[in-house]
């Protein structure tokens, strides 16, 4: 049986923080693996985290066809806030439309920011979905 990868303390604390938030929140590790989203985010995705488990976040979020509200064009991975937070290691914000697994489209302002344990050690990202 595969042994789960120990999580950095910053991710452990972030998950505990997010699990008590009423704001939809998703957490990835530094590889870009989805490692948690809270109950509030179930409304965005249409699934609970327990049903999903760890997976590459791009594989996960691509299921929801994120599109720009401004242009209605699909937002490529590298332009999504989480992708920017991971790859460019800076905060990013975008208004996007997500279509949940049940087919319900919701508009969200999405904010993502990187988590650093030390000044140069990226340990993951937090993505927040602000309801429109």
């Amino acid at each position: 049986m595969a042994v789960a990868r120990p999580k950095h303390l910053v991710l452990i604390l972030a998950r505990e923080f997010a699990s008590n938030l009423a704001t939809p929140t998703m957490i990835t590790d530094e590889r870009g693996y989805l490692v948690f989203f809270n109950e509030a985010a179930e409304e965005v995705f249409g699934r609970s985290y327990a049903e999903v488990g760890e997976m590459p976040y791009d594989e996960w979020t691509s299921r929801f066809e994120p599109r720009s509200i401004a242009t209605d064009e699909p937002v490529p991975l590298e332009h999504r806030p989480t992708g920017i937070a991971l790859n460019e290691q800076r905060p990013a914000h975008e208004r996007m439309r997500y279509t949940s697994i049940e087919g319900v489209a919701r508009e969200n302002s999405v904010t993502a920011f990187p988590l650093f344990a030390h000044h140069d050690e990226l340990v993951g990202t937090v993505t927040i979905f602000w309801r429109e």
Binding site: A4, P6, L9, I12, E16, A117, H118, H119
Partner: protein
């Protein structure tokens, strides 16, 4: 040294927060955190520099030890205040390597220097004659002589690490200040989501914070320490083979600590781990699985 010669763990101080000398604490001791880890060949590590390190220092002088490796979990005073009175610090023929958690702003030396300067202390760190070298704890596992080490940040106010030490065929996990329950109910978390889990997993001996009885903890959530129940739950979750409870609450007299140990054993039940409270002067001979 033989490959499986084991480790000798000696407790020089196990009191938490504040030294508590006096008639009511003679059995468990009143000195703050300091633990010696030794091997058959004389190799040793010193863990933390609470007031217990003063007596250890006197013994190291007697033994003629000239190279000392000190691992600090964090810089709260009860883990640092003995360093100024550690006799080898004042010997120019001694070299001391000190590891501690990194900070994004201050070097380890600068942070420790605060306690070596007026008005807290009459002398400055630059006046210390021994050869002191400071190291941030590496992110990846590393070695110090025959010891293989790893460290992880753990839940406690301010940057704090726990250490996993492997040598002589045995594994010792040292997490003296830790409040893993702050991140959820320990028994309900998978091991990869438990603070300190990687440090302590499967250790032959886990030394862990158990400052409070359960009812005391309810009024001190977020202070960075564990109830006896959480310490026992943590040991079970990480599958530690043996649990040594540490960082005794200053107001707990020996009689209270006897009750804490009883409670720990009651909580552990029949799982065979048999929790024990650390006592000053206690020596644990540690050998790995047969």
């Amino acid at each position: 040294m033989t490959a499986n010669g084991g480790m000798r763990i000696r407790i020089w101080g196990c009191r938490g927060s504040l030294p508590t000398p006096g008639a009511s604490t003679v059995r468990y001791g009143g000195n703050t955190s300091c633990v010696e880890v030794g091997l058959e060949d004389g190799s040793l590590l010193v863990l933390d520099a609470g007031t217990g390190i003063r007596c250890l220092g006197d013994e190291l002088v007697e033994r003629g030890v000239r190279e000392i490796r000190l691992l600090l979990t964090h810089l709260h005073l009860d883990h640092l205040e003995g360093l100024r009175f550690f006799a080898p610090m004042w010997n120019p023929e001694v070299s001391i390597d000190i590891w501690g958690p990194p900070s994004p702003t201050w070097s380890l030396r600068d942070r420790i220097a605060r306690s070596f300067s007026p008005p807290l202390f009459p002398l400055d760190l630059k006046d210390v004659p021994s050869q002191v070298t400071f190291h941030d704890v590496p992110r990846e596992p590393w070695t110090i002589g025959p010891f293989s080490l790893s460290a992880s940040l753990v839940v406690h106010p301010g940057p704090t690490v726990g250490y996993r030490i492997e040598a002589g065929g045995a594994t010792f996990a040292y997490i003296p200040d830790h409040e893993p329950a702050l991140c959820g109910r320990i028994g309900e978390l998978s091991p990869d989501w438990i603070s300190g889990g990687a440090v302590a997993h499967g250790a032959d001996l886990l030394l862990h914070d158990a400052q409070y009885f359960e009812d005391e903890y309810e009024a001190r959530i977020g202070w960075g320490h564990s109830s006896v129940a959480d310490a026992v739950a943590f040991a079970g979750a990480v599958e530690a083979r043996r649990l040594l409870l540490f960082h005794h609450e200053p107001v707990h007299a020996d009689t209270s600590l006897d009750l804490l140990e009883d409670r720990a054993r009651e909580l552990a039940g029949q799982n065979g781990r048999g929790p024990t409270l650390a006592r000053e002067g206690m020596v644990v001979e540690l050998r790995g699985p047969a």
